[in-house]
Amino acid sequence: MIDHILSILIFFPAVAAVFGFMIQKDSIRAYGTAVAVIEFALSLWLWFAFDSNAAGMQFMEHIALVPAFGINYILGVDGISLFIIILAAFFTMIGIASLTDTKNVKNMIITLLFLQMTMVGVFAALDAIVFYIFWELSLVPMLYIIGAWGGPLRIYASVKFFLYTFAGSLVMLVGILFMAYFYFQATGVWSFAILDWYRLILPETFQLWLFVAFFFGFAIKVPMFPFHTWLPYAHGQAPTIGSVILAAILLKMGTYAFIRFSLPLFPDASVFFMFPIAIIAIIMIIYTAMVAYAQEDVKQVVAYSSVSHMGVIILGTFALNVEGITGSIFLMIAHGVVSGALFLLVGVIYDRRHTKMMNQFGGLASVMPRYATIFGIMLMASVGMPLTINFVGEFLSLLGFYQQSHILTLLAGIAIIVGAIYMLAAYKKMFFGEVTIEENRNLPDVNKRELIALIPLTIITIWLGVYPKPVLEPINNSVESIVQLMHDKSQTEEAKSRIPNLAGKIVISKASQEEAH
């Protein structure tokens, strides 16, 4: 069974969702929670069985799908994808468990389970077409969640979300087909397997074009400036659960795909585009931070801050060295936990007051002390305070990029201070001062159902902030092998010098490990 754990992780929620149609309406919540708990337990089992010293793919599965055209169902997991899969299972679990009363709760839960299938599928797929299938399929449940349960502009927001991402992905599809064609020309066999593609060394001009094609798909998903305009709408209109999953998992697909596809397939192009992308990332960090400061709506503040942090992830990824990429992957998980938690927290207050405008609040700290405490912790984590989860990721990302450019890293560092300003300002507006609005005086504090979601997130935030090693180590091992692959494949002088050669270092660290034993 452990050999097929990835297939089980992907299709168990989908099968459960199909059976979910038969369940009576009042019992569906318990059913959904049970399924999600089992799924989460399976993902923990995956972690337990995962060999964190191995850098390569594990639990590989291989089934021929369309052999005539080189499409195969290939799955596998390494240190990079492992924790994102666990995160996806975790967020679906707490999302369903803490789901507030919604209309059509049955449809919602079935949709969430389908969404979970696509999320795990994206991170486990090792065939470009299978990856693309799950990547595109993930749009449909999200479209429905935003469009059916969202705010007044929900239809506009959901269609914009869908079309934006769909258009980007189709450009990526052309890139995928070109990549497969180049592989066909080089070897005489059609193959869409990513691991096969890793072995292919392309001329630099081809790399540049393909990099751009893939970039459209990924950048819209992340979303990178200037393609980010769909996100504030989607977040603004989506129900709480939609925002949580969107921010915590779906956005990570873009950054994950950069690491899985763009960097190892096109190392020279990655170096070529390093500074342009870094500049976009820094614009994204600073600009969205300033926009966040100007927002009246607390959910928009969180949404823009989420975009801002995605900028740091991109920056770390395009540091192209082990520190930067490891940091960016860790930050993906951290950002998932923290922004997911912040959206949940916004949802808590929205359920009570049915408004998200910050001027409607004030002095909540005295009314809802527990809520204010958890919000405070998450806020500190979001601005990257040491000993919280975000700090580790941001620090490593910036450290990685510092080796490439001092000035740009300094700019990004300043932006993080801006991040502290707007977050603290928002906190002040909501929680401090006198209670001025009468309705706020008797708001109930967080209840049990909400605590189920919030307490584990708080624990993770602090635990991984203090002791990140269990997560960092497997990530680090896989990243080292990818960076080495990039170094070996790169052809230009600049790329060779920008991407570190780890061949000696890995041997040394292994030797020292053995000595230590």
Partner: protein, 502 residues
């Protein structure tokens, strides 16, 4: 004195005619039965037609086996040409007809099915299309085309509504014009080469090295216009939306599939050798036509208020998409054409059948056309299964993986990539994104809006019978699980196309 002609029956290879003769026999039998005993129920004719189509299918399987064993077979004074293209397209024609004919078994009574002539004409039409694809003789193509078209005009008119008459007359007028163009084009080619067989024309033209390129272009212009009408290529598409709207939804779905595959095969036979022998002008014109057809039809589809008209424009856009295969002209692209059309016939027939199932006899006050978007508002609340299936077909048409049409699009765009048409590949991809919007519009109505007051969901299944439901279920299963059957289909299609020399 004419010398007596001595031909052995053996060399005529009359068996090549079998697949076409079976529906003709069936049609005649239906007419005879009606003469002997009139007033029989439509169910009898439906089942009888299905039996003949099944027999036809069996005969095709037989010729497919013969083709894989011995390659291309010629027959009847070398007029019949049974190659891979002919067999593949006949499979699509007969298969789609098999899916179409049970749609006559509606819950409500419709005018056309009470006439046995409907079924006889239907079978005549099928044999017409079969003749059209199984020859490279320009005259037999013309005969097949006209047999089929005349039958089709009548079938449309038999729907017996004002709009249906309008549609039939419109289609007839345009079809007559196209036939005129076709015969003129054929005449030019005959004048140039002294032959009416496409492969002979190709040989003669190549032998004198395209010396009369000006006349060739004149012939090509007429042929292009003629097939432009048949394939509803922009700017010859103007009839399509009105005709689709006027005919019954089932017939519209049928028209978007079967006549087009027949025309595609002929276009493939005629245009590809011209493109390959360096008629640059044709390549440029086809390129422009393909791009305009895809893009313009997509943009028109965006602004439609009626689902059936939207689907009509979407079919035009799909035809443009597939026309790209003829422009690219590699084995991969030609296989992609057949693959695409097989998958498209499932999906498109399914979505038109969903409209057919919700056909009302009288329009309620809030609706200004048979299938306006409003009618489908909030369908998920009142008829969840039907809404999900309709949503599925829409997602498949939009090219969302892993549903059927995605694989067609994938292979088609890939053939553009390998054929060296990079810009075209990008245009095709982006057009799929534009198309996403109007398919999504229906999904938005079905899943995200509130139902119109007084709509209890019965309207969506008003016409449902077991036969209709099975057809739709069949199409839905085919759409979802296309990836399972993809590899054998792809290998089969590629082998047949490759062995026919395309």
């Amino acid at each position: 004195m004419l010398a007596p002609v001595n031909v052995s029956l053996e060399s005529l290879n009359l068996m090549t005619l079998a697949p076409m003769l079976i529906p003709i026999v069936g049609a005649l039998l239906i007419l005879v039965i009606d003469i002997i005993k009139g007033g029989l129920d439509k169910t009898m004719y439906v089942v009888l037609s299905m039996l003949f189509l099944l027999m036809d299918f069996g005969a095709l399987v037989d010729s497919a086996a013969a083709f894989s064993a011995d390659g291309t077979v010629m027959g009847v004074f070398d007029v019949m040409l049974i190659d891979g293209l002919a067999i593949l397209s006949q499979f699509i024609i007969v298969g789609a007809s098999l899916l179409f004919i049970p749609l006559a078994l509606t819950h409500k009574r419709f005018h056309e099915y009470s006439y046995p002539e409907f079924f006889a004409l239907f079978l005549f039409m099928i044999s017409g299309f079969q003749f059209m694809v199984a020859t490279d003789n320009l005259i037999l193509i013309f005969v097949g085309l006209e047999t089929a078209s005349l039958a089709l005009y009548t079938l449309i008119a038999m729907h017996n509504r004002d709009k249906a008459f309008e549609a039939a007359v419109k289609y007839f007028t345009m079809g007559a014009l196209a036939a005129g163009f076709y015969s003129f084009g054929a005449m030019v080619f005959y004048a140039l080469t002294g032959s009416i067989e496409i492969n002979q024309i190709a040989t003669v033209l190549a032998a004198n090295n395209y010396a009369d390129i000006g006349y060739v272009l004149v012939g090509v212009v007429f042929m292009l216009a003629s097939f432009g009408f048949k394939l509803s290529i922009v700017p010859f598409h103007t009839w399509a939306p009105d005709v689709y709207e006027g005919s019954s939804a089932a017939m519209a779905g049928y028209m978007s599939i079967v006549p087009k595959i027949a025309a595609f095969v002929v276009a493939m036979r005629l245009f590809e050798f011209l493109i390959h022998s360096g008629v640059i002008w044709l390549e440029v014109v086809l390129y422009i036509f393909v791009v305009i057809t895809m893009t313009a039809a997509n943009i028109w589809a965006l602004v439609q208020t009626d689902v059936k008209r939207m689907l009509a424009y979407s079919s035009i856009s799909h035809a443009g998409f597939v026309m790209a295969a003829i422009l690219i002209g590699t084995t991969q692209s030609n296989s992609a054409l057949f693959l695409y059309w097989i998958l498209f016939s499932f999906t498109n027939l399914g979505s038109f059948s969903m409209l057919w199932m919700s056909r009302q006899k009288h329009l309620p006050a809030h609706q200004d056309s048979d299938h306006s978007y409003d009618k489908f508002a909030g369908m998920i609340k009142t008829a969840p299964v039907a809404a999900s299936i309709m949503g599925l077909f829409m997602l498949s048409l939009a090219g969302l993986p892993p549903f059927a049409l995605f694989w067609g699009k994938l292979y088609m765009i890939s053939s553009a990539v390998t054929g060296g048409y990079t810009v075209l590949a990008l245009i095709m991809a982006l057009n799929s994104a534009i198309a996403g919007y109007y398919y999504l519009k229906l999904i938005v109505y079905m899943f995200m809006k509130e139902p119109v007051i007084g709509n209890d969901g019965h309207v969506y299944v008003a016409n449902a019978t077991l036969a209709l439901k099975s057809i739709i279920g069949f199409a839905a299963v085919g759409t979802i699980f296309a990836f399972v059957a993809l590899n054998p289909i792809l290998e089969f299609v590629t082998a047949f196309v490759y062995n026919s020399g395309y």
